[in-house]
Each structure stands twice: as structure tokens, then as C-alpha cells.
Subunit: 385 residues, 2 copies
């Protein structure tokens, strides 16, 4: 639970960063930035809803009249920190927004020179805003909002932990249940139901990749029946109280035949993966860069001979969104800071044969890592019957 | 089921319209336009997926390597009509896109002068594309795609009908079940479960507004307990085989006490609403404009004395999206054509007291309306016990 007063602080901090960056305003459409700054989980609609944070003066929330009761119910508005300005069905919300912004800044429209729009604002709104602010350079708002959102506070970390623990329980339940002879899609449905039963309001993904499908990182659960003598990748997550879980375990389904135990190649591959994942987690501390962390895991996998089989980045930030900044990828020099939360998820994939991935959510603590997921990381050979 | 060859026809038609409009290319990000043109239900991700339809030469689908197996599985690609160009984790997909587009058009980057991006493309992609195509004017792609998507073909109408019939069954089931003493949220959950049980893959909305909440058009289902002697607005829908249902009925919960029958004001209000909705549906035929249709219903409601209480547009187009073009709103001179599909949903709302809305999905036929929903429109007084 985020205290309502936090939203006023966040909007205030966003306004200060906006002014300091020399921007005239931050324009925040529907999405995670809006939820972060106001607590308003607005639906994405063709009718414009937009938080306007000017470099000086109070922020306002532009909302269609039809949505006004839910807009007023969001914590930032309900607690009196933010006013709602509504527009009617036949009004032009962009003209209204530009007029209000100009009045707030005491500038003519052509005096507005630099604005930032939230990264996921729809093109239809971006292009209309550009037409209505012809003198303005447009930038993405994440240059501002990332400075706020990347470092989670104690309440956010507590929510990420609750979500991670719920996902861990589901991994445990599904790993130890029946798998052999069931389709991936059936197991995927079970994962989603269990995520909700364990407290998630939304079960967003439930990748179940068995046998050769374990080699496809974003495999959708298919009608394929799980067999004894093969690995299964479980990559699951959703949102709990607004914050996201995302964890991956790769298990081996053994059945009752010792001949169907993991083969030597898989055991070796898994060992290299396990070591790479552990090394990257252990390396987490303030000042280490995102690309360094990626390289830490990659070096071990390359040394193990699996470099070409690890063809995605190491991980992504997590919070209100399943994928957000910072991205742990080659070329990203962003240094970690205390409170940054992200996935550490190396994978090794042999197309057509099998693959494995291990993923934990890690928070950068003041002196080292805080790993939120607790499911076993050693290779689990499960019965599956 | 849309035949795979239809996607090739649609892409071809989009390219012809692009050339005819003097545009250099259509750039279609993740969303309904992409589903319409390729059948690809791509996830919205921070990694760019984009269909590029040049004014001349073949279209290509840009996709991140991690998504390539699902990209290749979409009908337009699987049936050989469209090639996928993948990019790796550390590549710049926008640079790749611009290079491929320039090569296709045999133009230098600065020779690309006008492009259209799909309306819901994220700002982060729009701004990067604008930076990479500095000589280009950017427009919204709906000027092209709406010409294709507004007029549904026979297969699409059949799918809309299936979705509407399923939603009608749910309206019938819920109206005749127990309501008194249950919370709106509980009934809303029942609606969602029933939508899925009746064939929807996704139950997207289930508005249950009882008593004073019936006066809030976009009310979210709350913890309020439904009582005898009040109206309940049920506005429900989701997607079935990719196509959307959306229907509203307002019922009166009577219980067993004749004193709790609808009051005279509600009966009068409902009668005016019923007449306005019927008149607008009956007026549907090719050539009638969207604003005319809105005015047809509005005139009756104004004459009935409820003008200020009908403060939203008459309706919205429907198809792959719950809200799409054409919008039935004052100021929209778009004439209807055969195949256009849209909601007709007037409402009358007294804040703090009660309200009512009636909504059918209507297809404009060659000479008149084809109303897809069949639930009773006369005021239903249900027992609710």
C-alpha cells in the first residue's frame, strides 16, 4: 500500500526534475508513469487522459467527463493533491490542455519550447500535441520518470517481495504436481489460476515450454503433451497490488524410469547457467553498471562454450511494469543504485533440442543484492506423474 | 475464421491506398491494425515489432529475434505472403527499418517525405522514427486503415454476430439469476466467467451499476450490495475469435414487493430512451452520417426533457477493437457504408439517483440496419431473489 502523500511527493519531484532539465512540461498519458505519479489505473482509451506537470505551477489531470468519477477516486486526486479538468464529448482535449499549460506557464503557445511525453503515449495523441505546440521539441518522459521509478522505496520493495513470494509458491506447486501427459496449455492455465489464488489480481504470463519448446525463450504454451525425460521451462508472473512478479525455473521431468534422467549435456549446460546466474546476482551492488552485470553472466556462459546459445539480454527492470528500466544489456552504461529492481535471467537454448533459463528478481541493496525469489536453483528432477 | 489469403489482399489494398494518398509508407506497430493486416496478435513490448508497407515493393515485418517464432506463426507470414526481418538484442531496429524502407523505395533517408504510423504506436517509437526520418511528415495511419477496417466483410460480420449472441446469452443468464444482496463486484465476476464459458477468450469489461451507480456511465463494479427496487445497468463484453462484443441492458430489480416496482419517472425515462435507441437503429442505412445518427437519438431525448442527462456520444465502431472508427458523435460527417459496425447506446443519467443505457451492435446493411443483439429491449422487471 502506497501512502497517498507519496503521490504528492512524486509529482513534486517530477516537476523539479522537469524544471531542472529545462523542459516546459511533462505530459503523462495512461500507463505506468501515470499510475506511479497519481495512483490512477486509467483504462487506455481513444479519449485523452493526461497528467500535465508544468515546470512551475500545479499539475493538473485532464480527463474525459465520462471517466471523471474514476479519475477523482485515484489517491492523488482523492487526497486533494491534484485537480481534475474534464472535457466534454465534443470538446478538443488537446486544445484544452495546451491552453491550460500556456496559462500555467504564462507563455503563448509558441513560447513552449520543450516538452516530454510518456513513452507509451499513443501516436494519435503525440501527433496532435505536436501540431498544437508547433514550436516545441518533443522528448520521451522516461528521461525524467526513470530517475524516480528505477529506485524503489521500501513500500515498493515490500510489494515486489509479496509478488515474488506468491510466484515462488506457484512454481513449487506446479513443479511438484502432475505434468506427464498434460498439455503445456493445460499446465499454463493451472499456473494462471494459481497465481490468482496466491493473491495476484492479474496473471499476465505463464510460459510453459517442454522438450524442444524449452529452447524458444518466448514460447507460448501449446497443445504439446509433456513427457518424461525432458526439461520444462516455467516463466510466470503477473501483478499483485499493482507490482509485478516474474520468475523462471527449468525443471527436469523424470518420471519413474532412471534411464530418463537428465543427460550429461543438459546437466553440464544447467551447471554453467546456474553459475552464471549466481555470479550475476552476487555482483549486484551500487555502482556496477547494467552492461557489466550482463557481461558477468555472459563471460561464464561463453567460457562454458554456450555463448551463441545465450542470445538475449540478461534482464530488465521491474516494478509497476513487467519490463521497465533499467535494462541489463550490452551498451547500457547505467550504474546501479540502491533500490533498483530487475530480473537476472540468463538462458541457454539449443533450437530444436532443449534449453534452460533461470530468473530471479533482484533488488540492489546499499551494499549488495537482495534476491526476492527463493525457489530452489539447483536442478530439480521431478517425478511429474 | 479469416482465410489466410485475405491478409495478403488487405496488405495489398493498404499499399495501394498508401501510394494513392501520396504517402511513402505505412508503419504499423503492435495492435489492431497489425492484427487486421497480418493476423499477428503480437504482445506490446519495449522491443519494436513493426509492419512496414511501402508505397511500392513488398511489405516486411520487423520483429525482435526473441519473438520470431510467434511472428512466423501468424497467418500472413505462415502462408508465405510476408517476410520477417529480425533484429538482435544489441541492434537498433529503427535504423534497420529506415535502411530497409529506403532500399525498397530506392530513396535516400532524406528522400522519404511522408509516412503514416498506426494510431497506437508508442511515443518512444514515434519519436525515434521521427529522428531517423528527419525530412518526413508524420501522420496517423488510421486515415488509411480506417478505409479498410470500418467496412466489415462477411467473415468479420459472422464473428461479430457470434460474439454478440454469446453476450446476449450472458445478459439473459445474469438478469434472471440472483441479484438482491449480492455485490456489484460479485455479479461482475459472474459476468466475466459466463462470457468465457460462452466462448469469449477474453472478458474485457463487465460494468454492473446498481441504484445510484447506474447513473455513472463508466462505473466500475463496487462492493455495493444490489437491492430490490432499483435499476441495474449491465454493460458487458469481450473478444471471441478476435472480434468484440459490447452490449448494455438496464433491468429493474423488483423482488417480491409490488411497492418496489419502477417509479413513474423511471418508466418515463426508460420509454424515452427505448424510443431514441430504436429510432437511431432504424435510421441506419448507407449515406446517413455518423452525426445524423447521433442527432436522431438526441432529438428524441431532448424532446423528452432529458437532453442534459444524455452527455455522451451515441456510439462507437466495433470490430477487432471495442472502440474503433467510426464514432457516432456530433461533428463527425462520415457517411455510413454497407459493412460498418458500431454500437448504438444512448443513456440518460441523473447523478446520485439512477440512470439507464441500452446498447446494441448494429451493422449497416445494403439497405438498412442489421441489429446483432437480440436481448429484450422492453423494460424487464426481474425478481432478483
Amino acid at each position: 500500500m502506497i501512502a497517498p502523500a507519496r503521490y504528492a511527493e512524486r509529482i513534486g519531484e517530477a516537476a523539479r526534475l522537469t524544471a531542472r532539465a529545462g523542459l516546459d512540461a511533462l505530459l503523462i498519458g495512461v500507463g505506468a508513469d501515470l499510475r506511479y505519479l497519481t495512483g490512477y489505473p486509467a483504462m487506455a482509451l481513444e479519449r485523452l487522459t493526461m497528467l500535465v506537470v508544468p515546470a512551475r505551477g500545479p499539475a493538473i489531470l485532464i480527463a474525459p467527463r465520462l471517466e471523471v468519477s474514476s479519475a477523482r477516486a485515484c489517491p492523488a486526486v482523492a487526497s486533494g493533491f491534484l485537480d481534475v479538468v474534464t472535457w466534454d464529448e465534443t470538446e478538443d482535449p488537446v486544445a484544452l490542455l495546451v491552453a491550460r499549460l500556456g496559462a500555467e506557464l504564462a507563455l503563448p503557445t509558441t513560447g513552449i519550447r520543450r516538452v516530454a511525453v510518456s513513452d507509451r503515449t499513443w501516436a494519435i495523441f503525440v501527433l496532435r500535441l505536436q501540431a498544437a505546440l508547433p514550436s516545441a521539441i518533443f522528448e520521451v518522459a522516461s528521461t525524467i520518470t526513470r530517475q524516480l521509478r528505477m529506485a524503489k522505496d521500501a513500500e515498493e520493495i515490500a510489494l515486489l517481495r509479496l509478488a515474488a513470494e506468491a510466484a515462488d509458491r506457484v512454481i513449487g506447486q506446479v513443479s511438484h504436481g502432475r505434468l506427464i501427459g498434460r498439455s503445456e496449455a493445460e499446465v499454463s492455465r493451472e499456473v494462471r489460476e494459481r497465481l490468482v489464488a496466491e493473491g495476484h489480481e492479474l496473471a499476465e504470463f505463464a510460459i510453459v515450454g517442454s522438450g524442444p519448446n524449452s529452447a524458444s525463450p518466448h514460447h507460448e504454451a501449446s497443445g504439446r503433451l509433456i513427457q518424461a525425460g525432458e526439461p520444462v521451462v516455467l516463466d510466470i508472473g503477473g501483478t499483485l497490488a499493482g507490482y509485478t512478479s516474474d520468475t523462471t525455473r527449468t525443471i527436469w521431468v523424470g518420471g519413474d524410469d532412471p534411464a530418463l534422467a537428465p543427460d550429461a549435456e543438459f546437466v553440464r549446460l544447467y551447471g554453467v547457467l546456474r553459475e552464471a546466474q549466481a555470479a550475476a546476482c552476487a555482483a549486484v551492488q551500487p555502482g556496477v553498471t547494467c552492461e557489466d552485470l550482463d557481461a558477468t553472466a555472459r563471460r561464464i556462459i561463453v567460457a562454458g562454450g554456450y555463448g551463441p546459445q545465450f542470445f538475449h539480454r540478461l534482464g530488465h527492470g521491474i516494478g509497476l511494469e513487467a519490463h521497465e528500466e533499467p535494462y541489463l544489456v550490452a551498451g547500457n552504461p547505467q550504474p546501479l543504485q540502491a533500490g533498483y529492481a530487475f530480473s537476472v535471467e540468463p538462458g541457454i537454448y539449443f533450437e530444436g533440442r532443449y534449453g534452460a533459463r533461470l530468473e530471479d528478481i533482484v533488488v540492489c541493496g546499499p551494499v549488495g543484492p537482495l534476491v526476492l525469489n527463493r525457489s530452489p536453483l539447483d536442478l530439480q528432477v521431478v517425478d511429474g506423474r
